[in-house]
């Protein structure tokens, strides 16, 4: 396998890796950028570095 093909494969694997399984104690919370509900701007858990964070993954129902 060429290096490019390997890189593409690895990228694909990374994109497809289950983040749910990464949400465990001792691991960094994923830093994926998501739209902020307030104004749609790019936001990430990473924006809160330096703070003690209580993060709720929830729904209003």
């Amino acid at each position: 396998m060429s290096r490019i093909a390997l890189t593409v494969t690895l990228l694909g694997l990374f994109a497809a890796t289950a983040s749910g399984s990464e949400l465990v104690v001792g691991r960094s919370f994923p830093t994926v950028e998501l739209p902020s509900l307030a104004d749609g701007s790019r936001a990430s858990v990473k924006d809160y570095r330096g703070k003690k964070l209580m993060l709720h993954v929830w729904a209003s129902w």
Binding site: L11, G12, F14, A15, A16, A18, S19, G20, S21, L23, V24, V25, G26, R27, S28, F29, P30, T31, V32, E33, L34, P35, S36, L37, A38, R42, A43, S44, V45, K46, Y48, R49, G50, K51, K52, L53, M54, L55, H56, V57, W58, A59, S60, W61
Partner: protein, 376 residues
């Protein structure tokens, strides 16, 4: 979340704890109404595609100053310990995940990107029918397009089908299951979902605040309370047009769509049928509100039950209007259901068109075809 919010108000005010939320909802703006109602003023990130791949909510995490998860589902003691501890920085910085094109476009491409997103996810499913995430996300994108001006009539039904395919591949994914339940029959629902919206608005108005407008108004299934058994309410009203003598809306002046949730029927199980009627704006059609309401009549086939055969959509006060009118009903299938069945149903309505200025009373047959899971 309101529980934790109340318990941590002082910590938040003192700057010792930052609250943050992530929601996977299809209509995340409803969270804005909820939070204003509960006076929860902290930021929310929107993850409708569930890029975090959580399979259930709610989940609470305590994340340290370096971004490392220190507690999941914390207790009060855990929180105390967490706040008292100074954590060391991890050796490696996490890599930012690389999003596939469809996901990236969904998040940042706006409304205009939805056609591309749908096409790309459809392509991924064609390449790998077992890609359950592509199925779920295709459903999310289709439903979002259905709620937009670029809607295709079949988008909602296709979304329900995609969610059904995803769930068949992983029945333990409760984020996916909730999408179907949100629009599905009472028998399958864990809770009403958005029955709090009316109370939230009333409370905000009583406080002198303006409730935020919702992108899509919840209705029908999104309010309906769960039920442990199928209830069929006997109608005291006789069928309005049993012989089919009312002239049909052949033009038609009304655009009609039907969606069945879930998309296929478990033998012995129930489905919720969503009927939508809207005047065809290209034909300059509008409702004539000076005569009577829109009526829907459903005739369940032998062995089937309907929760309510007769439905009435009250007309607004203005003499003419062009709003969407919707009727939802549930059907309960016989245990031995296999193959497909067509459920007769029709609507009666008063409609006018402005080209020739004629007003008509018309019937629209809206038969609903249902297919069993065993027929797949």
């Amino acid at each position: 979340m309101p529980g934790w919010h109340d318990k941590t108000k002082t910590l938040q005010a003192e700057g010792r704890l930052q609250m943050l939320g992530i929601v996977q909802e299809q209509h995340p703006d409803r969270t804005r109404l909820f939070m204003q109602w509960k006076e929860m003023r902290w930021p929310i990130l929107v993850d409708s595609l569930d890029l975090l791949e959580v399979d259930v909510v709610p989940l609470t995490f305590l994340i340290d100053e370096h971004g490392v998860i220190r507690y999941t589902r914390p207790t009060d003691d855990d929180l105390e310990q967490f706040l008292a501890t100074e954590y060391a920085a991890p050796a490696d910085e996490p890599t930012r995940p690389v999003l596939a094109r469809a996901e990236d476009r969904y998040l940042w491409g706006g409304q205009a990107a939805l056609d591309d997103v749908v096409e790309e996810l459809t392509g991924r499913i064609e390449d790998d029918a077992g890609d359950a995430w592509a199925q779920f996300r295709l459903g999310v994108a289709l439903r979002r397009r259905y709620d937009s001006v670029d809607r295709r009539a079949e988008d909602f039904q296709k979304a329900v089908a995609a969610w059904g395919h995803a769930l068949a591949l992983d029945p333990n994914q409760y984020i996916w299951r909730r999408r179907i339940q949100q629009y599905g029959p009472r028998l399958d629902k864990p809770y009403p979902f958005y029955d709090w919206v009316g109370e939230a608005r009333a409370t905000l108005e009583a406080r002198g605040e303006t409730p935020p407008a919702l992108v899509v108004e919840p209705r029908g299934a999104e309010f309906a309370a769960p039920s442990k058994e199928f209830v069929s309410r006997a109608s005291e009203i006789v069928e309005p047009d049993p012989e089919g003598r009312i002239l049909r809306d052949d033009a038609p002046l009304i655009v009609q769509e039907s969606v069945v949730v879930p998309g296929v029927v478990e033998p012995g199980g129930a489905v919720r049928v969503h009927l939508v009627f809207r005047p065809d704006l290209d034909k300059k059609a509008h409702w004539n509100n000076e005569v009577d309401d829109l009526i829907v009549w459903v005739t369940p086939p032998p062995g089937w039950r309907v929760d309510q055969a007769h439905h009435r959509v009250a007309v607004p006060r203005e003499p003419v209007s062009q709003e969407l009118r919707s009727v939802e009903f549930e059907l309960d299938s016989p245990e031995g259901f296999h193959g497909s069945v067509t459920v007769p149903a029709y609507a009666l309505y008063y409609i006018c068109e402005d080209v020739d200025g004629t007003c008509l009373f018309r019937r629209r047959d809206v038969p609903v075809t249902l297919t069993s899971t065993t027929a797949r």
